[in-house]
Every structure is written in C-alpha cells, then in structure tokens.
C-alpha cells in the first residue's frame, strides 16, 4: 500500500545554462565573484496525491518528461521529497531499464548476490537460483558477465531476481519493454501473483496495451501533475491517446478489448 501526499520533487541540475564548466568559471565561483548561476531547478513532480491499495497494479502513463520515472523513484524512497511525503508499507523495489546489477560479474553471481542483498539466507538463495534462471530464460549465458548480455536478457534476469521475492511494493519502469512475447506473458503472470500476495505494483510503460492488460488502475501524468486517475483503465487510456493526437483504438463494445491488432500499440 502506498500513500502519496501532496508530493513535490525538485531536481537541481549543475552546470546547466551559460556556465560552460571551464576552469576559469569554476575559479570565479570559488572566489565568490560569481554565484552558482549554473544551478537550475527542475520541478519534476508538482503536488501529487493518491492512494494505491494492496493488490493494486497501477499503470503510470504520460509523455516523456512528464515525471513518471521520478514518481517511481520517489515511491522507492530514492528521492527525498521537497514537500509532502510518500508513505509505504515496508520495502519498495525499483526495476529500471538501465539498472544492471553488477556488470562485470556473471549472471550466476548476480542472481546469488541479488538474493542475498534482498535479505535471503545462502540456503534460500541457492533454492531460488534455478527457478530464477528458468524464469529469466537466459539459459546457457548465465555464466557470462552481465555486460555481455543483450538489453532484453539483462532486464529479464533483473526482473526475475527482483520478482523472486514477494515485495510489498514493486516498481517496474519500462523494464519489461525489452522482453520478448514469451517473457511478457510470464512477467504478467508474476505481477498478477505479486498482487495476490497483497503487494502493490506500479508499472511505467509507453506500451499502452501492456498497461491495459496488466493494470487495474491507471494514473495519467502531465508536467509533474496528475491529469486523471482511476479504475477505468480503458477510458483514461483512450482519452490520453486522444489528447496526444494518436489514432483512436477500435474496441469491442462489450469487452473493451482492442479489435484491430494493426493499430500500433505505441503512441
């Protein structure tokens, strides 16, 4: 369960603007002749409030730069809020698309280390090992360093490691986007399972079909604020597609399923 209460997140970007980061400007800064004009504040989340309950799978949609990933990082407790707060039960685990665990170690060691880091004992880690490897479908490449993996293989293995434990809150940031069709089916099943174990899942995806299939709630963000949220996943997604100028999805009037598969899923 996650409560987000009037959350504001502000990034500070150093070296933005006219300061070109040369030695001379740095020296002027130290001498106090010039204030750090090069700091720019980016107000990434501007006052969001919502509650996600146990068993919810919440899809977060919005354009690039609307603050989706920032929201997830804040829920994971990685970004201290500027104002307001995020409350959650226990531990949140964030799966980002670029988050390799330890690149120069083999997949095998990554599995064991990941399990131990999540607080399993050696015994538990060994017991889970085979199921994680099977789930990830990495197969024979498991004894190669993780930096040699394709992005799809890497994210599959990471998802498999993180999903091997039941988390109170699981945050998935585009991590499934690179997986193949078979893996997507498996990961959806695993997310369902986590929901039934009273976990809360957040899913950021540009693939709206994926959100439709996986989530029971959806949050639509724009410029760090919430535009809409609710359980009418299909309705909100259709309005989002309309607002961003996409081609409307043809749906079966009864089931709400997409009728025409040729409509591109990505907007």
């Amino acid at each position: 369960m996650v409560v987000v209460d009037d959350l504001h997140i502000v990034y500070r970007v150093y070296g933005a603007g006219g300061d070109r980061g040369t030695a001379a400007t740095a020296l002027l800064r130290i001498l106090g002749r010039k204030t750090r004009g090069s700091i720019r504040e980016v107000h990434a989340i501007r006052g969001m409030s919502f509650v996600a309950y146990k068993g919810d799978a919440v899809g977060v949609i919005g354009r690039n730069g609307s603050g989706k990933s920032t929201l997830l990082r804040a829920i994971a407790g990685l970004l201290p809020p500027e104002h307001g707060n995020v409350y959650s039960t226990g531990e949140a685990s964030l799966l980002g698309v670029n988050a390799a665990l330890l690149e120069d170690l083999t997949g095998e060691r990554n599995v064991i280390l990941g399990c131990l880091a999540m607080g399993m004992t050696k015994q538990e880690a060994r017991e889970k090992y085979q199921s994680i490897v099977d789930f990830s479908g990495v197969g024979e490449f498991i004894d190669l360093p993780m930096k040699t993996y394709s992005s799809g293989m890497g994210s599959r293995l990471r998802f498999a490691i993180a999903a091997s434990k039941s988390h109170d809150v699981l945050l998935v940031d585009e991590a499934l986007a690179t997986g193949d069709a078979e893996f997507r089916v498996k990961s959806h099943a695993r997310i369902e399972e986590l929901r039934h174990q009273a976990g809360t899942v957040f899913l950021v995806a540009h693939n709206l079909e994926e959100v439709e299939q996986t989530c029971n709630r959806v949050i639509w963000m724009e410029r760090g604020k919430m535009v809409m949220q609710g359980e009418d996943v299909i309705g909100i997604i259709d309005r989002y597609i309309a607002a961003s100028g996409g081609k409307p999805v043809v749906r079966d009037p009864v089931t709400g399923r997409r009728v025409d598969d040729r409509v591109p899923a990505k907007t």
Partner: protein, 359 residues
C-alpha cells in the same frame, strides 16, 4: 563537462506556480476518486505506513546490517575476482602491485635519499610500511567510489547501504592477507626470525580493519555527495603517507620538535605500521627508541651512523635514544583510533542513508 551536468540533490522549492497547468482537460471528479476523507498523512499512519525516504533507527539499522553479512562477504569475494579478470596475470597483480611499489620506494628512498641509514633490515622495514599503509590507502580510495559504482544495485534493491563500503574494506582485507604471505617470505629471507610476537598480527589487523571501516564509511558518504572529493583524496592520502614514516623512521627526524614527532608517531597510520613492525621484526624490537635506558652518547653515535665507518651493531643503538611517544600507550591509541573512527564514520554514513540512491 559531462560530469558537471549530472542531476543532484533536490533543492529549494521554487517556480511552483509559474509553469502552465497541464493543457489536457483535467477531471477533478476522477482525480479525487479513491481518496480517503481527511488528512493523507494521518491515513497513512493509521495503516502503519512509514515515509519511504526515512532512515531506520540506529539499532534496527545495525540489525539489518548484521543480517546482510552473507551478502557483504559474497559481494566482496565476487568483486575481488572480477577486478582482475581482464588482466592477463589475473589476481597475481594483487601481489605484484605492492611489490613494484616497494621496489620504487627502495630505489628512491633507500638508495638515492638514504633513508635506510641506521635502520637494520631496511627492506623488511619498508615492505611492512608499504603493505600496511597500502591496506588503508586502497580501502579509502575504493570506498570513496563505492556509492557511485553501485548506484544500479542501490536503486534496484533495498538493503542497508553501509554493506557496500563494508564489503569494499573486506575486499582489501582479503588482499592484505595475500600481501602478508609475501611479507612473511621477505622477512624470513632478509633475516628476522619467526617469534611468538607474530601472533600480534591478528589484533593489529583487526584494529586496522575497524579503523578502515570507520573512515571508509565517512569517505563513502563524502565521495557520494561531494564530486570534488575523489579528486582531492589521492593528494590527502599521499601527504598522509609521507607523514607516517612508511619509508623512513620517524625517530631519525632531527629537525622536528619532539612534540611534533610524538604526534606523527601516534597518528593511526604510523601507529598501525609501527605495531606491525615491532610484532614481526626482532630487529625493530631491539632497536626501538626508548627500549633501553637513555644514553645520549650512544644515541648520538646512532644518529651519525655511517655504514662505511661504523660496525653494523651501531644501528641498534637507536634503542638508547628517547622514545618518540610512550610505547606502553601504543595499544591504547590503536584501540582508541579504531573505536573513534567506527563510531564517527558509522553515524555520519547512517545520517544520509535515505539519500544514496538519488545520484
């Protein structure tokens, strides 16, 4: 350039209102659905929720850390193996690097600058200094980078972040064990015997490791928050090395006042080095200043020792010189530094626990 442009700490709240509202039509009715009545903060506390970005209390944190011991060891071992996988000589470099260091220092200090004058078995003396200091130096340089290097791991999984600097110090300890084996061989070849004093290695290494963990935690937080720190650190460490009598004996300094000499001698690096030398080298124990009743004449003779004119036994006359600091207190200081470093370092690191993931 690119380093300059990274995202950093969220700062002060501003421009909250000067950005336009989302242009897409908001629907207040939908947006407030599923919201409980009353304050969200109270609602959260009623359901036993905690702020995500809060650090656990000290004792709970220590308990979590204890539960991650397996992770710390496995992480250290894995890193240790991975570190040299790309080098053709592999883990042999763990031994070769300090040996090359010794060779360079021997050439410069022992031969060219003549700091070996008056020190019996100078090679053993030098190798111990280099290896012991190397342990601390490597520990600090690696822990200063540990948070940045492990950012993906930190972002993906929840675990007490102090595990990481702790693991990095364990890596260096494993390397130190290897160095010690080389050290034993060198000492025996140069000519000091094995004695029961060698057992003192265990408490010395333990204390030095505790000290390294403490300062390592401190350095890890500094390195993660102040970009310039890792640039500065090598210079700090080099200054420290030259002040700590790694390649010369602090007792031989003649132009330094006695008080300053005592301070140099009691700084943690010099202290652990000296304890190690006295434990491993009989020649050091016999020639250690202050171990014999003061004798100004014999002390002066040692200060002016010349390998060409004097018999080698004069090298041991440094024992008649006054002690730089009371040797009986060395162990107290060694324990004191370790405990102080651990307490300060741990507290300092723990205070920022919630912030390491933002990068």
């Amino acid at each position: 350039m690119t380093d300059d442009r990274r995202l950093s700490a969220p700062g002060r709240l501003s421009h909250a209102d000067d950005l336009p509202e989302p242009e897409a039509g908001g629907d207040a009715g939908v947006a407030t659905a599923m919201m409980p009545a009353g304050s969200l903060a109270e609602f959260a506390f009623e359901h036993g929720l905690r702020p995500s970005a809060a650090r656990p209390p000290v004792l709970a944190y220590l308990r979590q850390l204890w539960h991650r011991w397996n992770f710390i060891i496995a992480f250290a071992t894995a890193r240790n193996i991975a570190m040299y996988t790309e080098a053709r000589l592999g883990q042999l470099w763990q031994v070769l690097t300090p040996l090359f260091n010794v060779a360079v220092y021997y050439l410069i200090f022992g031969v060219l600058l003549d700091t070996s004058r008056g020190i019996p078995h100078f090679i053993s003396f030098l190798v111990i200094g280099v290896f012991v200091f190397n342990f601390t130096q490597r520990a600090f340089i690696s822990t200063s980078k540990v948070i940045t290097e492990s950012l993906p791991l930190i972002r993906a999984l929840q675990f007490p972040r102090a595990s990481l600097p702790l693991a990095y110090v364990m890596i260096e300890l494993q390397q130190m064990f290897l160095s010690m084996l080389v050290l034993f061989v060198i000492i025996l070849v140069v000519g000091d015997p094995v004695t029961w004093y060698w057992l003192l290695i265990i408490p010395i290494l333990l204390l030095q490791t505790i000290f390294n963990v403490g300062v390592g935690l401190l350095v890890a937080r500094l390195g993660s928050q102040v970009n310039d720190f890792s640039q500065l650190l090598p210079f700090l460490l080099r200054t420290w090395m030259y002040l700590s009598g790694v390649m010369f004996s602090i007792a031989t300094l003649t132009q330094v006042p006695a008080r300053a000499k005592a301070i140099l001698q009691l700084n943690p690096a010099a202290l652990y080095i000296t304890l190690m030398r006295n434990a491993l080298l009989l020649s050091q124990r016999l020639s250690f200043p202050g171990t014999k009743a003061g004798n100004a004449v014999r002390c002066a003779r040692w200060h002016h020792y010349s390998p060409k004119k004097d018999p080698a036994s004069v090298m041991y006359d440094s024992a008649y010189c006054p002690a730089t600091a009371n040797p009986a207190h060395y162990w107290y200081y060694a324990v004191g530094w370790a405990v102080l470093a651990l307490a300060v370092g741990f507290f300092f690191f723990w205070r920022a626990e919630a912030k390491y993931g933002r990068g």
